[in-house]
Symmetry: C2
Subunit: 325 residues, 2 copies
């Protein structure tokens, strides 16, 4: 199943089921008013949503219409929990150099993860309002999962079994604020403004072979102002999503609708480029002694789209512009 959320003036939007090819959609509010409610009642509503999806994909859904990503909020415009890891160690090691922060203890054996703000997510075409270009505006292309309730102490296998949806997201970062917040030990807060999401959240089965080992085996294509920036693949994640969700649930249960992110997708092969500017800047420092790429300016655009070998883009496209608040 594929889901999206249309704006309707409410904070949670209204639930759509989207066709496999993202061309058509059908209102699903008769089953659940919004995606958050659907996740809270998953066992009850999933069969009815599946029937709706089947009908839509077979071209026999009453009331189907052309799907328009411009009308989308984030699939979950808000939820009760958002935790983001840094599960691509290649990215983490480069960021230690970028931020000049000390090595993270147990980095290869225990996931690092920060608690993010989940009250205000941005849709795939919404402008990104920020207060000041001087804060070092950067994108971070990631994958994420949305889980059902997870009990405290769940194993990675139990945690993986609780994954209901896979999402693609841009974890916006303000790099001028990150190092001080890391050095405080309290983690990111001002350095992480509202996160953006691709329009379509998909059940893992929709990804076919691209969902295995708790990882998304897809290239994440990133363009900045129309120029290709990177296309790292999600398969190199050093911890799978089962490990990450279990990490989040070690000392407390997780509510249905909790989103857990991968951290910036990053590959050891430099030829594929990066999914954030900070990483490219570190590579420039290594290669040339200084960074050559600046951070984003107001008016800049970023486009992110995960694609399979068949050219399919299962989550749709994030295409946003940064603006002064």
């Amino acid at each position: 199943m594929k889901f999206a959320t249309y704006r309707d003036g409410s904070p949670d939007g209204r639930l759509l089921v989207v066709s496999r090819d993202l061309r058509h959609a059908v209102d699903a509010t008769a089953v659940a008013p919004n995606l958050l409610t659907a996740l809270e009642r998953w066992a009850d509503v999933a069969p009815r949503l599946q029937a709706l999806a089947d009908a839509l994909n077979d071209g026999r859904a009453a009331g189907a219409f052309d799907f328009d990503p411009a009308q989308c909020m984030a699939p979950l415009p808000r939820t009760f929990q958002w935790c983001d890891a840094s599960a691509f160690l290649n990215h983490g090691r480069l960021m230690e150099r970028a931020f000049n922060t000390p090595p993270i203890p147990d980095f290869e054996t225990i996931p690092v993860m920060y608690q993010g703000a989940s009250d205000d997510f941005l849709g795939p075409r919404e402008d990104v309002p920020l207060p000041d270009e001087a804060l070092g505006i950067d994108f971070e292309g990631e994958f994420g999962v949305v889980v059902d309730r997870v009990p405290m102490g769940a194993t990675p296998a139990q945690a993986l079994a609780a994954v209901r949806l896979v999402v693609q997201l841009n974890d916006w970062s303000l790099r001028a604020l990150g190092p001080r917040e890391m050095k405080s030990g309290f983690g990111f807060l001002q350095a992480k403004p509202s996160t953006s999401f691709a329009p379509v959240a998909v059940t893992p089965d929709e990804l076919g072979d691209a969902w295995r080992d708790g990882r998304v085996h897809l290239d994440l294509q990133v363009e900045w102002n129309g120029t290709a920036f990177g296309h790292p693949n999600g398969r190199e994640m050093n911890f799978g999503f089962g490990d990450l969700v279990a990490h989040a649930a070690r000392t407390r249960k997780l509510g249905a609708g909790t989103i857990v992110g991968s951290g910036t997708v990053s590959n050891a092969d430099r030829a594929v480029g990066s999914a954030c500017i900070a990483e490219r800047r570190v590579v420039e420092i290594i290669d040339h002694g200084e960074p050559r790429t600046g951070f984003m300016r107001f008016g800049d655009r970023v486009r992110m789209c995960a694609r399979g070998a068949d050219g399919d883009a299962p989550f749709g496209v994030i295409e946003q512009r940064v603006v002064r608040d």
Copy 2:
């Protein structure tokens, strides 16, 4: 106005208006089904809730009943955002010694604040399930505020004007996990299990003179297994709640229902004791060369109650037992 949330099987519970003396309550679900919804529609519902509170306090509310804190969930059993500061610098400086972590940059001029999990708050009499005594189970007595929508870049005065409710809470901590998470730079996650709240959330006017300068000028009385542990006063907060909320809103807007905490209440005068065990242990290290107090064991109880000079307990009492999950 004073509010509480009774268990009704739903994740958000049902809204009550509570009398000033906490003896009586009246169902308020005809105005708003739960406190989160009330906060989202505050301008609309506040006058009707005030009328209900006035009737209750005058002894003329139809359907009033005896208020029973044992039936309470947290006033907000879940919300979309919870940020907790460390605004009592006395506590922060002692914790640097306890954790042997480096000094926090700009500690006296920029608040430190972590993003907490807001999907699962505990009520005032609920058992606190935790996986292992060896994790260093500690309580942290705090005050907090619940705000309406706050725009990005709000000034401290604007932020203070957005405060709708004041709360009293216990920010449970697992001290064995804290230092590693601080050193990772990503902040607390496993070290912060579900937070507990006193039964009653109050509008600032209910505190009278005890609410001024964006601070709660009340002693927070803490008892551990029936023995007095500390009674520090909220007035020594080095940043007011206006400063803290503005800090959280510097790079993004905050949704209605966001809770911002003070951090552990802590006073320079050692004679008043502490509101967490870790702080007492540092004082013991300073005085005796080693800690003499252990952390909590399964079966231990903690009681927290803010009291005014008149003996009034405006938020009611947190009284919980730690149990093995």
